[in-house]
Amino acid sequence: MKFTRRQVLAGAAASAVGATGIYELVDQLTSGSPKRPADTVALPEQHLLDGVRIVESNHIEVLVPPLHHEIHTAKLAVDRADLSDAQSELARTLDGLDRDYVPSPAGLGVTVAWGLPYFRRLVPAAARRYLPHDRRANKPVIFDAQRFPSDPAGTRLEANDVAILLRSDTHAHIDDAAKRLHDTKLFDFTSIRRGFAGGGFDGGQSLPKRLAVAAGVPGGELIPDASELFLGFTSTQRAGMGPGRIANHETLGYVDFRGSDYFREGTHMHLSHIEEDLETWYLNFDFDERVATAFRPNLIVAPETQTVRQGPRDVSDSAAVRRDYESSRRIGHSASIQTTSRLERDFVATDGTVYAKGSAIPIRADFNTLDNPFSWSVRADEMSPTPVAGVHFVVFNPTGDDFRRNRLAMDGVLPGGKIPFAPGDRNQGFNSILQTTHRQNFLVPPRRHRSFPLAEL
């Protein structure tokens, strides 16, 4: 029995660069900002980012996310009596950022998401009246986060009032936004979470590979050179991301607004931090098993392929996942989630947009991180200087329950029944190499109500 596993390895990288300092390498390792479309507009939705570039990888369209990402979580430093002034001040600050930076990766993307503690504590009556209701789940679209079957018992379920997601190709833009937000004195910040994205789509080594190696993360040297993710595959292919406004509350008819348009063009956001055991992934799973684990069993792809087609015609339904399980005793990460995350039939939205069968519903905004688990936190045990490979997982779904269904499917809880797996089973997608450390659900109001939603009522 080897005694040298994750816990021991944590010490091995201790002499390497700390996680916070390592992000400075992102700018040093990239030759300026990637080319971006010129014309961008501020959409009514906060969660949608215009001006995202599309490239081809393995003849598959792939979205190029912003290079830099930060999330600042906070409790509010205001009480009910201050709400009106606070709402005006934050609105002015956010409007100022909109004026100074185009809302795209070339400028700055700002998404202000509000946690249930905010609604309960500061606007309880309005929240009871106006929070959108999920028709399928028969409950509000936002609820307290839960642990899922594959989560460790120690996964922290957070209770922040607000989370602010900042995205840009230029780190100075994020720094400026963060300073302006901190200067408002409206927030008692609880954590800062940093990370990066950037596949080697233009040739050369990708950021995840270069930063993992520079940080001395165990297994970093084994990441394929051009990989967009630490885990060796491309995750932002266009067909795998919800198109257009599909993740808006209103689009798929999941939500009852209860007679008000207040939260129309809003969405739900789930935020979690997940550690990735790269050394186990690359030393214990050969390429074929990594493909089976990440996508689905019995899928044949050319060796060293990183971008694997996940279009509407490649989607697995529950029956297909069960068939694969019967033959291989395993389920793939993508295939199991697709049973709930893809449209079962063509859908015509109220604005006339046709969303084809097999379209993805969630819009992911996750990013690679070396935080352990955060760059900064009010809690001393949440900011170790030893870098760890992971992901700050950010996903927008029409409702919290929609996310919940997707996440349960990842654990083998499929529509129509559960495939029995022990927690962390090697045959259950990625679960044996992932550890979720934190979770929380948020509501993302439309841009027009992004500042202290419902406070004016």
Binding site: T4, D286, R329
Partner: protein, 211 residues
């Protein structure tokens, strides 16, 4: 210690030259400039490896160098596995373990295998309730050449080679492997450097003519 001696020798020579700077002969300068003579590799326990080669009736590779404190002598305190299977394949495992935490703890573990009469990668069982057949050595990651011996690097390996980086080569109609555990105090890159050095230091031991 051998490594320390290797570092000390040129340093001493430089000191001597420094002391005799004015009169340091051309001959001495030439001695400094000349490429070092190739050191003969010495199998640390030739009889035991000879015995192994004779036992399986096939050539084996004796490691003249292993990371300190390991010594490639079959039967010594570091040789925790000395195994020959009915099909004549062998596994020689050398391991040092220190279970203390921090810098004091760690493991050095080197395996040498040989599969006489076969060149195909063997099949292993993954174990557990859903055990299945997989190649014992998988995920080729390029090749390594040292002293004319070209080996393929495999990163996903099974059984005693699990968590090891492994070099595999074919010679004389046989399959051979050399692997080392990626574990503190070694990083992946460190293990790769050690594997180069170990491959470079292999001494071929052929079966005795009489056997």
């Amino acid at each position: 210690m051998a490594a320390m001696k290797a570092l000390l020798a040129p340093a001493l020579l430089l000191c001597v030259c420094g002391l005799l700077a004015a009169g340091c002969s051309d001959q001495a300068k030439k001695a400094v400039a000349a490429p070092p003579a190739a050191k003969a590799l010495v199998c640390p326990d030739r009889p035991s490896w000879q015995h192994l080669a004779d036992r399986i009736s096939a050539p084996v590779y004796c490691p003249a160098w292993l990371p300190d404190p390991l010594i490639g002598a079959i039967g010594n305190r570091w040789n925790n596995i000395n195994s020959v299977s009915p099909d004549r394949s062998y596994l020689e495992s050398f391991v040092w373990q220190e279970t203390g935490g921090g810098a004091a703890g760690g493991e050095l573990h080197v395996n040498l295998r040989g599969y006489p009469g076969r060149t195909k990668i063997p099949t292993c069982r993954t174990g557990g309730s859903e055990s299945r057949n997989v190649p014992c050595f998988a995920d080729a990651n390029g090749s390594v050449t040292e002293r004319g011996l070209t080996a393929t690097l495999y990163t996903v390996n099974q059984d005693a080679d699990e968590w090891h980086a492994l070099l595999l080569w074919r010679r004389y109609g046989n399959l051979y492997t050399l692997s080392e555990h990626i574990a503190p105090p070694l990083t992946y890159n460190h293990v790769i450097r050690y594997l180069h050095q170990e491959l470079r230091s292999l001494v071929l031991v052929r079966p005795s003519a009489a056997t």
